[in-house]
Point group: C2
Chain length 277, copies 2
């Protein structure tokens, strides 16, 4: 039996597209209204896995999601990268000229601002989700209305794509993390990536000392993100993503990092993800 | 003649409190609806200076503001730290028992959630600004309504503080940057802090090499923040804050950093700010 994957967002969302790429097209997804709900469903065992966006190549990190993961004690077991492609879709058989208003999430409308301003004039209606906008057009049989959403939404709700790839910035990728309860995070065979947390002492050069120890093992630091430590004003902890060839490199780096870090914690050891377009 | 300071937010806001601490109590402030408007007013010369929040000790960095500064080519000429203290205020003479609803920005309501849930029951009304909520009570002579806002709002709009320091997390500080046009960023005498941008090559250990060169000069790296480079997917640039005793240390570090960085740029050289409570 396939276990459910808790995702943020609705049926047909980019989270669902990412889940299908990672877990296969038959993946059962449990839509959640918030990222907090994704974490709760995984922690409680309601869902077998979780999948959540962690950063976007244009907008940057989704900082609160790092906190959610850390607080919940979940483990990262994988990742997947997805190109964000937005399409204009409506009930089949309608010409573009019949469209009078366009519904979508404000971020999606913004991503397609060039296209939307060059056509129309259309009334733009902000909604809570791209795919939900598509679903409402189908359920309400709303003519004259189009949605901006991903391809899966058009497929699920049987809408026709009137204009393809209408997003302005073509290099728009989102990285999603796959998360599991610690007891279900079985050892990955031949991992080549890890996510860590640590904080350094306030001593001068302490972060440099940590990074040297990582580089000394031939490990590539693919990401370093700082966060405030709430209880210690203007002290930071760091999230680091490390890419390596052999897990022995990671083990050696972790040993070498211990004397120069505090609160060093491995959030997950997994396979570097592939990019889907 | 005093020049105007463009601030984000309304009369009586925490930005105005911070501006008065930095520029003195007679500072003339120009309220702006957005951070983008602050930058535009300074860039165009409409305002003499700008003051904008850049990070909070609990919520973390306001990432879009780093981008705004970088794109506008403004310089950081100073900084100021302010403790965020929230108070419950209403038209004078009303007992707490007469209050039926409380208006404020959703973040302020959240910061005071413990207090608000222990009293009342009150209807909580989300507004676009803390100080604006106070101003509307005064202008509408609204009885039975209180606002959550900073002390200055109570003073400016002649409201009575019914409950002081009602925020749950007492260690809540916001850091504000003072920004100026490059031609007005006169050399600061005896600076001890600098803000830099740079990106590294993707070579292993390149960031460690940068940080070693900073530490080698006895400079304290007080902040390191990574950002995605939109045109180069999953490449990052870094914002770094450096604290030193002698500007010669900074000069030496900048020279040493050049061979191991790309696009190294000094955003500002200034005095480390003081914290106001």
């Amino acid at each position: 039996m396939l276990s459910t994957v808790a995702i943020q967002g609705f049926e047909g969302s980019f989270h669902q597209i990412a889940a299908r790429h990672y877990f296969g097209p038959a993946a059962l997804t449990a839509p959640c209204a918030t990222f907090g709900e994704v974490v709760r469903q995984v922690s409680s065992g309601t869902a077998g896995h979780g999948l959540m966006a962690i950063e976007n190549s244009i907008a940057g990190s989704i900082l609160p999601n790092y906190n959610l993961l850390r607080q919940a004690g979940l483990r990262v077991t994988g990742e997947v990268y997805l190109q964000i492609r937005q399409h204009l879709m409506a009930l089949p058989g309608q010409p573009l000229d019949d469209i009078r208003e366009v519904h979508s999430h404000p971020m999606a409308l913004l991503q397609c601002a060039d296209f939307l301003s060059q056509h129309g004039p259309w009334r733009l209606v902000e909604t809570e989700d791209t795919a939900l906008s598509a679903q409402r057009i189908r359920e309400g049989l709303r003519t004259g209305t189009a949605a901006v959403a991903g391809k899966l939404a058009a497929e699920l709700f049987d809408l026709e794509i009137l204009a393809k790839d209408i997003h302005s910035e073509k290099k728009n990728y989102t990285r999603f993390l796959v998360v599991d309860r610690p007891e279900n995070a079985a050892a990955v065979v031949a991992p080549n990536k890890a996510s860590l947390y640590f904080h350094t002492t306030h001593a001068q050069g302490s972060l440099a000392q940590v990074l040297i120890r990582i580089a000394d093992q031939g490990i590539n630091l693919s990401k370093l993100q700082s966060f405030p430590i709430p209880a210690k004003t203007w002290h930071y902890y760091f999230h680091a993503d490390l890419e390596f060839d052999d897990p022995a490199q990671l083990e050696a780096a972790l040993q070498a990092m211990k004397p120069v870090t505090e609160g060093l914690e491995v959030l997950g050891i997994y396979h570097k993800g592939t990019t889907h377009k």
